[in-house]
Symmetry: C2
Subunit: 364 residues, 2 copies
């Protein structure tokens, strides 16, 4: 019987150390070619929902698949989002509107058995998403940051920032953390909460440069659409952990002694012609397009090659290292959700659904 | 509330004329660039299930997405199949094993609203699949076969063959149909059943060449992995309607005056390294690989260009025309399943599921 598992249940079951361990094993599988995944695909079409006058919107269907033979599991992760692009400080910001009934979002993982093909679980993707993004950057730091790293600086204090710190503190003995957010008050509230969660000092500072100056590990966890982290902030010995592509400037990639991407895979975009007029009128592109930057993105090694030992990481304490969580892949959800599913079965959590609902007596 | 719709309910709701009409509109949307889709992706990994000694197997996760602005709908179609490759007449045949609980298969379509992102329906894919494949070839015949086509020859009498004839008879005044199957008795039983369904003579014949000799429309609906239809059978004036890539030989494509593909999109394959040994040992490839044939597949126009008027079809009665249903695309499921969903709502069919199960209060 497929198990319906919601975010509240995932939160009871999933820990950061477990997520790190599960993903580290996964990258060994990927390095061997055993685990497989496809790059994310994005479909953008018009939507009728809007945030207000003159605020363009779009529907966004995103999906990714992955399979892990060692776990006898495969999965599809999908999100069905209503996007709006309000103007903020002269730039179009992307907002996901909770447009589904009850002011909710929709993101699911469907987990399958590769032994008999059956649907094992339908799971909310939100909590898993936070943990897997945090753990991915955490693994980058584990293999690239100086072994004696003690200080960290964080830019951003949103939904993803907390798991970034949890993962970093699980792989290094971090003793002091500075955090900066451009949103007034956010960093302070975040710092107080994380000081408690992590049981070590997290303090808000008043500028981005101040947050990362002199730290052993700089972490960017923003929703910026424009690279902003200058090479001048990237000091010798520093590990720069970037959560997405539009944070570190091209100069950082050129300056780094070691650069590792999460994956070289790229998302594939399919945008309805109905949105071309919107893009033109408002002067922005709905699709992700940062891959057009002045770098050969295919030239960088990926995390599976680092963890699998195909490339070496840092070789001296004075080197600059950079990990970019370039894009997520489906196999991450397969591994983490299989772990959550296994625990849910053990502990009797989740709601059993009739398997009859999801199978059929004919095949195409 | 999302509506769970099973195959029995789809069968009550979906007709071939409706499927043809729904898809014809879809191709106009695709021609304009309004409707979008991504190419199918295939993930092959090992499975523990087997059909018997020395019969290799694999798990196969397949998915495709599509969105249709006019319908304010998007969808993901997925199948989770356990495959086996028994040897038959010296060739490896691909069999989908009903390995899921209750000896079932698993194929689903998840339909979403692009207006608010919500999940509208979870639907079995089996019946929709039959109808959309039949209707796709039917539209090829509508736009390419001679207007006065009266006779048809069908090779194959399996699950997909019936809808091929239903679609053809909906677009042309077909008066006489011959059918051949290499499986003894199959063609005869099929002919009797289809004579009743179509209310016109369908007769079994004892050879493939006999089935297609002298007919106005030849239809291939087989699971062959090797092209078998020779140019010698492809007579002047004939329309050759091919359900998949490994039926018409390269010479047919070269001989045809007009060739139209369903789409130029190609599936993307991801095969676990664990299966490489299996492929080598048994001497066959698990992934689809027929795109390696001696033709420039990108040079052919597609069905949306034909229906949208970007290319012309047949211009004389003596021309040979060839339609190849090269691969399915997600937008077909979006359009057809949205139609089924709308009818199910109108007629009170299907089972309502709580929307709370499929939404979340956090977003990544």
């Amino acid at each position: 019987m497929p198990l319906l598992i919601n975010n509240e249940e995932v939160e009871q079951l999933l820990t950061m150390p477990d997520t790190l361990a599960v993903l580290e094993e996964l990258y060994r599988d990927i390095a061997k070619g055993s685990a497989v995944y496809r790059a994310r695909t994005d479909l953008h079409t018009p939507t009728t929902r809007t945030m207000g006058p003159d605020i363009p919107g779009a529907h966004y269907l995103k999906s990714m698949d992955g399979a892990v033979p060692r776990l006898q599991a495969a999965s599809i992760r999908l999100t069905s989002d209503v996007l709006a692009y309000p103007l903020q400080d002269g730039l179009r910001r992307r907002v996901k509107i909770p447009a589904a009934p009850g002011n909710r979002w929709l993101g699911l993982v469907l987990l399958f058995s590769t032994a008999n093909g059956e649907l094992l679980s339908i799971m909310n993707d939100g909590v898993v998403q936070r943990f897997r993004v945090g753990a991915t950057n955490g693994l980058g730091a584990k293999y690239l940051a100086r072994k004696d790293a003690r200080t960290a600086g964080l830019l951003g204090s949103g939904w993803q920032a907390g798991t970034q710190l949890m993962a970093l503190c699980a792989v290094r003995q971090i003793e002091d953390i500075k955090v900066y957010s451009p949103t007034p008050g956010h960093a302070q509230a975040f710092a107080e909460e994380m000081t408690e969660t992590l049981d070590r000092p997290v303090r808000a500072v008043s500028g981005a440069e101040e947050a990362v100056r002199g730290v052993d590990v700089a972490v960017t966890a923003t929703n910026s659409r424009v690279p902003f982290f200058p090479a001048a902030w990237f000091e010798p010995g520093m590990h720069l952990s970037s959560m997405q592509r539009d944070e570190a400037t091209d100069e950082c990639f050129k300056l780094a002694d070691v650069v590792v991407f999460h994956t070289r895979a790229k998302e594939q975009n399919y945008t309805s012609s109905d949105l071309a007029e919107v893009e033109q009128r408002y002067g922005f592109e709905i699709r992700d397009h940062s891959l057009a930057r002045d770098l050969d993105w295919n030239s960088f090694p990926d995390l599976s090659e680092l963890i699998g030992g195909k490339i070496s990481g840092r070789t001296s304490d004075s080197q600059r290292t950079l990990f970019l969580n370039s894009i997520g892949v489906g196999a991450q959800f397969t591994a983490v959700c299989h772990h959550v599913y296994t625990l849910a079965r053990e502990r009797g959590l989740g709601r059993e659904l009739p398997i009859d609902w999801f199978v059929e007596s004919v095949h195409p």
